[in-house]
Symmetry: C2
Subunit: 341 residues, 2 copies
């Protein structure tokens, strides 16, 4: 168990390191107004904190820097509680300069605002359109063989895909198929359409469609979804201005990571509510081992539908960033739900 003094020193040291990005020595700490101990005393404490794994040295006679464990402890126990900074909330309202009308614009602007405000890289993971409910679907032929299938969701999102019209399918069957889908499956989530059909509608299909066999294959083509979350970025190159990534060979993997869709999706996906912090190797990817990821989820009708995240060096301004992300995600939630009135 850490003493009061150790806690205090640890916090001061990490605050200082976050601010100045340079190893912090005993003298620096002891010079602070609110510290009454001499450098020698501090040195003893620092040595202890190092033994406990909260601090590290860059070389034998350097000042200390926080270890990953140090940051973790800082975030979990030393951060002035969030409620303190409620003052900042309301801020973000001002930030949305233009009135945004569509969700996509909201996500895009949120990402930009966040990265501008923090100088880190931000990512918004948009809602998975496939989780939205079918409002209306339609098939529009564009040539003898090709057609476009269109699915409109309750949120006003439009999914579309080109499909090949098999010669074998009867035009009348096609029409009936669309009608059945619209009548029976409105309100069902896109992703569930296919299973619902399998389970509940095969009888209906059999009854109404002339060529039930071929229609099945066609349905599979029609309703085979691929992932549809969208990522919105802000400040992709902000990493370059972080002192710890001033080295090209260090940034390259990072930037490559940012450009790799599935890695990013995995990184940024989070089912937890509220704000979460993942530090360094907790991100479980080599390229992210010197980064922290702050995740906040936004909701719609109380349901988690996406996240807004910040990616920066492990030495992040956690305090500022966490409260910012907290309020911005709430703001996003509010606005999103306003849309669907």
């Amino acid at each position: 168990m850490l003493t009061e003094r150790q806690l205090f020193i640890l916090r001061v040291l990490i605050d200082d390191y976050i601010k100045h990005v340079e190893p912090v020595g005993s003298r620096t700490i002891s010079k602070r107004e609110d510290i009454t101990y001499s450098p020698a005393t501090i040195r003893n404490e620092l040595a202890d904190l190092e033994d406990l794994g909260f601090l590290e040295k860059t070389h034998t006679s350097s000042g200390r820097i926080p270890s990953e464990k140090g940051y973790r402890f800082y975030v979990d126990h030393l951060l002035p509680s969030l409620s303190m900074s409620e003052g900042e909330i309301g801020h973000s309202e001002l930030l949305f300069t233009e009135k945004v009308q569509e969700a996509e614009a909201l996500f895009d602007q949120s990402a930009k605002i966040l990265s501008d405000l923090t100088n880190y890289t931000s990512v918004v993971l948009g809602p998975n359109a496939l989780d939205m409910k079918l409002k209306h679907m339609q098939i529009i032929p564009i040539s003898s063989q090709m057609a476009v299938a269109i699915f409109v969701t309750n949120t006003g999102h439009v999914e579309n895909r080109q499909i090949v019209l098999p010669d074998t399918i009867e035009p009348s069957d096609l029409e009936k198929l669309v009608n059945i889908l619209n009548e029976r499956l409105a309100g069902v989530r896109l992703i569930e359409l296919n299973t619902r059909i399998q389970k509940e509608l095969s009888a209906v299909f059999k009854k109404h469609l002339q060529d039930y066999q071929n229609t099945g294959v066609f349905l599979d083509q029609l309703l085979l979804w691929s992932k549809k979350e969208k990522l919105f970025y802000g400040g992709k190159t902000n990493m370059l201005s972080q002192p710890e990534f001033r080295d090209l060979d260090k940034v390259r993997p990072l930037l490559d990571f940012l450009e790799t869709r599935d890695l990013m999706e995995k990184l940024v996906s989070s089912t937890e509510k509220g704000v979460t912090v993942r530090i360094g190797t907790e991100n479980e990817h080599e390229a992210m081992k010197n980064c922290s990821v702050i995740n906040a989820s936004y909701t719609m009708h109380g349901k988690h539908i996406g996240t807004i995240s910040l990616i920066g060096p492990t030495r992040m301004e956690y305090k500022k960033v966490i409260s910012l992300l907290d309020s911005l995600s709430k703001e996003m939630t509010t606005r999103l739900n306003d849309f669907s009135d």
Copy 2:
């Protein structure tokens, strides 16, 4: 006018510099098998070529590097003519591993292939959907006030937007409106819909719609387009591996440029047919002053609809890259036109 020997030396020097990225000295050139002159002779020629503005020195006693003018001359007059390398054409056919069915996938893959093959950054400027012709349109209400307007083009592309339904508009008018649009304006380019209506259909509207006044405002909302070209990137971070951009302060502006939509659109747009090369300051933007941009256009039914481009250092492998871009753009054209059978 340059002598044969000067032409030869210039070409050899630029070839060498492109390959090794290091100032080329007289000794290096004279050592080549096909050169019979001594370093001293070469030195004289180099001094002349420098006076003429084709070469530069990095410092008083360094070897020479090509100037912008040098590259321009090289590209215009010293490049083995394209037809020579026809052998490479056909290659690109093999490169498309998966069979792509939608245009977007084709663009995306083309960009990836190109950047992989060259280690430069590639960009495909997709066709402007607004130049495509209306196949079918529809308005689907999603709530009491909101609706989604959907426009399907002859190419199977779907444009959609959310619109506010004014209370003042009659549901029956809305239906008629959609019908008129579909009957009278199929085959018209999306971008032209509004003017066509103004010019030709006001009479029709007046006759069929109860509340013509309000409909006009609504139409403006419905048919006010914003630019819709899409950019597809490949190898965004390839710049980082180019020796000339090993410096962070040099890459940063470059990467920022790549992320700025309108700058990129401008950079990559080109109405010229075939392959064009823009070197250094010819790109008219500070950030691009050390880059060359190679542009190739692809067509549909003979009409220029987009470009595929490569961005790299002014020291580019022009020969390889130009012929590659030439054949890839042709391949793209072929595949695109196959779609619309």
